[in-house]
Structures are given as structure tokens and as C-alpha cells.
Amino acid sequence: MKTLNRRDFGVDLGLALAAAILLPATKARADDMEIHIDNFVFQPAELKIKVGTTVTWTNRDDIPHTIVSAGKFRSKTLDTDDKFSFTFTNAGDYKYFCSLHPHMTGMIKVE
């Protein structure tokens, strides 16, 4: 939990700095989204976001997972508590899955 707190703090600090310097141009940053992997499930399994949003996946299982969207993005293998981020710069539907446990699927809808 310590790691998580430190990381959260880091993100908050980064946002605060960016907001202080660039407000209001960086407003979109506040929409950055998180997806957790718990019990071999992407949560939420489907996410609607705006173009420019960064999505960060965190693996909270005791088993490694990957985030793969064919031809779009592919994470390294994420061990427990590892994270992967991707910024969606184009609208569209992004289906993705875990290449190790392909029954795990998710969808990002970018508008």
C-alpha cells in the first residue's frame, strides 16, 4: 500500500504543478482514467473517454497480465502492482485483451 500511496501522491503533485502553470489549457488532464485488474477482470470492462485521455491500467492480481490491442498498443508483462499507460489520440473503439489469459477482454470507446 505504501507504494500505491507514494505513486498517487506523485500523480497528484504532477497534476497540481501542471494546473498551476498551464491552467486552463490542461483541463483535459483531469479526465485521465484508471482501470484495475482484479481477479482476472478489467474494471471497468468498458470505458468511454474523450480524445487525448490517458488510461492507466494497474495489475492488482498475484499473476502477471498484459494489455494488448491488436495493432494499437501492447504492454510489457505487468507483474503485481505494475502499471501501463496509453494516451488515446484518435477516436474509435479499442478492443483489448490479456495475451496470457485471453478470456480477459475490455473495451475503450474514444470520442
Binding site: 482476472f40 498475484d62 502477471p64 508483462t77 503485481t80 489469459h101 485471453p102 478470456h103
Partner: protein
């Protein structure tokens, strides 16, 4: 899940060592008159009694070297337990097969540690990869160590004791929403490999993910496993040995016997018995029973297998 509270200190080292004593297991297979039987290695005396003249071999699986989470903080230690068991067996097996997930994260040190322990059996080991063995950046460490003389992603066949063994790879190019995958190239190779073999030749197919559909909701099956099974339909004796699900399951369908081996690292829940197939943390006292060995006997001229579930404790 566990009812154990892992507070400040967690499980004491001594307690962990105690509960790991029986954790490492394998399955001894013996082939008599061309028909494989499996013997638990829990009781070596029993194994010695049952080991009729013929060829015997071992199956171990899912050693997950590098795994250190609460379900088993020392997977290398339990692999060593299994190896000690094997070395203590009065009837030395001819060789061993490892049905994958040798390592947890495909790190070089994990492969090295696994090799260091497993080589202490002084047995030839025939490996097939699990999905955990193919996750290094360049996907080369498994192949460097175990891929020599294999085809494609690592499939191969060999003959021993009158039995034709085929090691298959079903952990590559997995498709979203799907199960394990053999692929057309491997299936074509398999069909060709079996062509011309006498139908009385006993066949053993081994691969990491079950070739039969155990529980698709958790990905426990192989998308095109049915096609592989079509190729062995005409053979009189077919045995399919898999790992991946960290528990014993078996069924017989006609001439085909399916069996999955336990892990030497950690148990996984029965299909649907938990929110996910992840490592199952059980109470120390229960771990031994979770990792016990079942004896599975294949008897000639009998279609059904005799299953003797023998927990390690209780």
C-alpha cells in the same frame, strides 16, 4: 479467502517451512504392456509395489519458479521438495516431462534456478512451455534452453519404451476472448508426425493448457484442441497430459484418457469455486491436502480409469 490475517509479520518462516514440507509433488507414470498407469509419489513404498516391469516416467508441472506471493512464498523450495521426493523413489523413472510454467516471469535467474533444482533428479526432462515461460521481452530464454531440436514454437515428438510422445505448444498467438491455441502449422505437423504410425502404438500427447475444455470461463481449454484429438482417434491408447490448472482432473472419452497434474508451486481453485483462477491461499494446515497426489490407474481393457484420491494429509 484464507481466514489468516497477515498482519505485521505475516506467516512465520518456521510455519511456512512446515506447511511446505509436503507441497512439492509429481506424478509417476509407468507404462506396462503399452498402457500408461500413474502412481502417486506421495507414498514411495506404494509406488515401488505398483511399479511393474516396464517403462515409467514422471510428470511435474507448473513450478512457477520466482513466485513468492502469499499462496506460496517459496515456490523454488517446494520444487526442491518435489525433486527430493523423486530422488527418494525406489524405482527410478526413465525420464520426466515438465508440462510448462517452469518460471513465473521468464527471468533468466528463474530459469537458472529451475534448472539447478530439476537437474538434481539426473533425469532427462522433456519440456513444453507454459505462458509464463514466454514473457521475456525477446521471448528467447525458453527456446535457448529447451528449444533445441524442436519445431515452430517448441513442439516435437520422441519415442520411448514403445510409446510415441508428442510435446505440443498451446500458449502462443492466443486470440482475444479465446482459449489455448495450437495453430494450423503445428496441427499440420502433428498430422504428419502421426502418419504411418501403427494404430497399436500408444500415444502420449502433452501440453501446458488442457487440450480438452475444462472451464472456458477461465480459459481452461484449447481452442483447436479438438483437431489434435481427431488425429489420434484411430489409435488404441491415447493419453493426454496437461498442467496449467494446478489440480488433478481427469476424464476418459473412448480410447483417450485426459489428465491434468498438480503444480509444485501453489493450488488454484476448482472451476467456478472462486472469483478467479488465481493462486489460492489456503490455511497452512489445508495446504497439504490441496497439494496431495491422486493416483490414477490406467488398466488395460478397461475404459474407465480407476482414480484414487490420496491427500497428503487427513
Amino acid at each position: 479467502m484464507s481466514g489468516q490475517d497477515h498482519g505485521d509479520d505475516g506467516v512465520s518462516r518456521r510455519k511456512v517451512l512446515e506447511c511446505m514440507t509436503w507441497a512439492g509433488t509429481g506424478v509417476l507414470w509407468t507404462v506396462t504392456g503399452g498402457v500408461p498407469r500413474s502412481l502417486g509419489i506421495i507414498d514411495s513404498a506404494e509406488a515401488a509395489t505398483a511399479a511393474a516391469p516396464g517403462m515409467s516416467f514422471l510428470q511435474i508441472s507448473d513450478s512457477h519458479v520466482g513466485f513468492d506471493k502469499p499462496a506460496n512464498p517459496n515456490a523454488l523450495g517446494t520444487l526442491e521438495e518435489a525433486v527430493n521426493k523423486i530422488n527418494a523413489m525406489p524405482a527410478k523413472p526413465s525420464f520426466m516431462i515438465h508440462t510448462g510454467d517452469i518460471t513465473h516471469l521468464s527471468k533468466a535467474a528463474e530459469f537458472d534456478n529451475a534448472e539447478r533444482i530439476i537437474s538434481q533428479t539426473k533425469l532427462d526432462v522433456h519440456y513444453v512451455p507454459g505462458e509464463h515461460d514466454f514473457i521475456d521481452e525477446e521471448v528467447k530464454l525458453y527456446r535457448e534452453r529447451y528449444g533445441r531440436g524442436t519445431k515452430g514454437h517448441g513442439w516435437y515428438s520422441f519415442d520411448a519404451g514403445g510409446v510415441h510422445f508428442v510435446g505440443l505448444v498451446n500458449v502462443v498467438d492466443l486470440k482475444a476472448g479465446g482459449l489455448g491455441n495450437l495453430g494450423t502449422e503445428q496441427l499440420a505437423w502433428l498430422e504428419d508426425d502421426l502418419r504411418g504410425k501403427s494404430k497399436s502404438t500408444p500415444i502420449v500427447l502433452f501440453a501446458h493448457i488442457p487440450l480438452w475444455t475444462v472451464y472456458p470461463e477461465w480459459g481452461w481449454g484449447t481452442e483447436d484442441g479438438g483437431r489434435a484429438l481427431e488425429y489420434v482417434k484411430g489409435f488404441g491408447s491415447v493419453t493426454v497430459l496437461n498442467g496449467h490448472i494446478h489440480q488433478v482432473m481427469q476424464k476418459v472419452e473412448g480410447n483417450v484418457t485426459f489428465h491434468t497434474a498438480r503444480s509444485t508451486a501453489f493450488p488454484q481453485p476448482a472451476p467456478g469455486a472462486a472469483p478467479s483462477p488465481g493462486p489460492m491461499k489456503v490455511e497452512d494446515a489445508r495446504l497439504r491436502s490441496m497439494l496431495g497426489v491422486a493416483s490414477i490407474n490406467f488398466k488395460q481393457n478397461e475404459q474407465r480409469l480407476a482414480i484414487i484420491d490420496t491427500p497428503l494429509q487427513g
